[in-house]
């Protein structure tokens, strides 16, 4: 068995150790004898046809402006894949850009890929610190947020989780991220997957199920260190 991870814009969108998420997916596959291949996709590259998991991280403002145009170019294909149930994890910058738009502090609207039912407006201050959310599918999820964008998800959409401590999507409605089909969008860095292995295993499971067309139960791994790190993070001050 083999899975291909499409890593979107690793060069410009790799702040806050987000590529640790790709490493977590890779290792958790390898430890179960599932082979992996990572395709690093940069602006202008031909979009590969075969991939099983989509991953995209956060970047600086300057990095985001370098990928905006390219993202619009590949948006139709990305939309088709996400609608079709391809598992995806989008963090911070690319979470925002997969939505309808990002409105800057000056009121300028940057078009997003318009795949996820959400929109983001620049806020007056950065929301920074440790964050803990509670989710229905994965229990508590911990991470670190650092964003100035305030995101509103559409009324009918499911949030990824409910904020326990921290700010989340906008610091107001207690929602954090979005859970759309098999796509998770979130502000949680940390990186999120190593300390929340159930989220990583969800993405891997969905990818295998789509690939084989049958229900899949992953082999259990010893996650003692993962869970201990999760618990330490959950007790740290903002």
């Amino acid at each position: 068995m083999s899975l291909t991870i499409l890593h979107l814009y690793p060069k410009e969108m790799n702040l806050y150790g987000d590529h640790g998420n790709v490493l977590a997916l890779k290792k958790r596959c390898e430890w179960r004898k599932i082979r992996t291949k990572v395709i690093e996709y940069e602006p202008g590259d031909p979009l590969p046809k075969d991939f099983d998991i989509i991953f995209g991280g956060g970047g600086q403002d300057s990095g985001q402006s370098k990928i905006e145009q390219d993202l619009l170019r590949i948006a139709p294909e990305m939309k088709a894949r996400i609608e079709d149930g391809t598992p995806a994890l989008l963090i911070c910058g690319l979470y925002q850009l997969f939505g309808k738009y990002f409105e800057t502090a000056e009121g300028k609207r940057i078009n997003g890929a318009n795949i996820l039912p959400l929109a983001t407006v620049a806020g007056p201050k950065r929301l920074i610190g440790n964050i803990k959310i509670s989710t229905s599918s994965f229990g508590d999820v911990v991470g670190y947020e650092n964003h100035s964008g305030l995101t509103k998800i559409s009324k009918n959409a499911n949030a990824f989780g409910t904020v326990v401590t921290g700010a989340g999507n906008n610091g107001e409605d207690l929602t954090e991220g979005i859970f759309y089909k098999n796509c998770i969008g979130t502000y949680l860095h940390g990186p999120i997957l190593p300390k929340n292995p159930r989220v990583a295993d969800f993405l891997i499971t969905k990818a295998l199920e789509r690939k084989t067309g049958k229900k899949y139960t992953l082999d259990r791994l010893n996650d003692r260190i993962e869970l201990r790190a999760h618990n330490v993070a959950a007790t740290r001050p903002r």
Binding site: G17, S62, R126, N146, P191, P194, I225, A229, R236
Partner: protein, 411 residues
């Protein structure tokens, strides 16, 4: 007015000393509030002005190099102690060192200021020359983004009256505008040893446009560094450890040349030989017959360079990671470091010991033990074997380890 401030400051200093609070920034705070012009009035009288050293990595050691090189030339140098790099910390240090009659008996101030504090400093005090070392990912939870950090350095440069010394090989630093920019750099063969932030993960090298450099680090073999100064090569055997210190010394040499243009640069290069590493940056302690070296790592680039310089099979390794405010609350930066060259780690410690162990697990590096408590960890670590030891440590863990070691409260 200044005399009144000195009296007031010294009074507060004496009072806080009585309360056992010797290194307090309180005197500085009181004077800053009551006489905002005090710092400028005192510093602008210095005959060689004020030098500010800023950037993400290497400030402390570089400040030490510049101060010692200038001292060797006979200047009386005023400098701020590590950790007091707020404006009020500088004022406190002035209060401590000024006479009651207002005599501030120094030739030059050489100040280490982090990016944000340096900008605040420039609003209340003169900067004659500045040295801007690098922009790397550090404490993004405080500064937001590294492009923002680069903007802070630009402000420091704009406020600088004479020379701004710039790192030619860091793309975010070399493009900083200055009244009188002057560069230090690397030979093309050394360039790949020194990744800038953008190259850290991809490990590619981007050669910055060919700006002329005043001082170039040409060659570095073991501890022998060769600097090219004004087209002349001079070699020196360094006591300082770490290739990044050898490179930052090129910045220090350039700055010293700006301050004292009449001194032959060869003198400065020769004087480099005797300079030792700064507090917690490669200091070696002996515990029960075992050498223990402390290596400060604050951010991914410093950690990566430290691993490249200080990993071999002759040492045992411990890593101590805290996430206090001074370390940065966000520990995700550990995932931007490649640990695969470490043979194994005896013990991970500090508040985020488990995060470190987890990071090592995903790089396939064995981590024998996890012990959050630094005192316990240190005890276990020094008794594992007779091999010399190295501890990679974040800032607040370093302070605690140093206290444990020097206080010998350990055994």
């Amino acid at each position: 007015m200044e005399k009144l401030s000195i009296l007031l400051g010294k009074g507060v200093q004496a009072a806080s000393r009585l309360r056992g609070n010797g290194g307090s920034a309180l005197p500085g705070l009181v004077v800053e509030r009551t006489n905002p012009k005090f710092i400028r009035k005192i510093l602008e009288k210095l005959p060689y002005g004020v030098v500010v050293i800023s950037g993400t990595n290497g400030k402390t050691t570089t400040t030490k190099i510049v101060s010692e090189l200038l001292t060797k030339q006979g200047l009386k140098v005023f400098t701020n102690e590590t950790g007091s790099n707020f404006v009020r910390g500088v004022i406190s240090a002035i209060i401590k060192n000024i006479s009651l009659t207002g005599k501030f008996d120094y030739d030059i101030a050489v100040l280490e200021l982090d990016e944000a504090h340096a900008v605040k400093f420039s609003e209340v005090a003169p900067i004659t020359n500045s040295l801007l070392l690098n922009v790397q990912r550090d404490q993004l939870d405080r500064f937001g983004e590294i492009d923002h950090t680069a903007e802070l350095l630009q402000k420091i440069s704009t406020a600088t009256e004479n020379f701004t010394v710039l790192n030619r090989e860091d793309p975010r630093v070399s493009k900083i505008k200055a009244k009188h920019p002057i560069y230090f750099g690397l030979s093309s063969t050394l360039l790949k040893q020194f990744p800038s932030d953008d190259n850290l993960l991809t490990k590619t090298v981007t050669q910055t446009e060919n700006l002329p450099a005043c001082v170039t680090l040409e060659k570095l073999k073991d501890q022998t560094a060769t600097y090219k100064v004004n087209n002349k090569s001079c070699s020196v055997e360094l006591a300082l450890k770490g290739s990044y210190n050898a490179y930052n010394a090129a910045g220090a040499l350039t700055l010293c040349h700006c301050v004292l243009p009449d001194v032959e640069p060869e003198h400065f290069v020769a004087d480099l030989a005797e300079i030792q590493s700064a507090f917690g940056r490669g200091e070696v302690f002996n515990i029960n017959g075992v050498d223990v070296e402390l290596l400060l790592v604050k951010n991914p680039s410093a950690f990566q360079l430290s691993l490249a310089n200080f990993v071999d099979d002759k040492h045992d390794y411990m890593i101590a990671i805290n996430d206090n405010i001074a370390d940065g609350r966000d520990v995700s930066w550990l995932w931007n470091v490649d640990f695969k060259d470490l043979p194994k780690v005896e013990i991970a410690s500090g508040i985020r010991a488990t995060d470190m162990a987890l990071r090592l697990k995903y790089d396939g590096v064995a981590c024998e033990k996890i012990q959050e408590d630094l005192s316990e960890a240190l005890k276990i670590f020094v008794s594992t074997s007779k091999k010399p030891k190295r501890i990679f440590t974040t800032y607040t863990a370093m302070l605690e380890l140093r206290k444990l070691i020097s206080g010998k409260s350990l055994f």
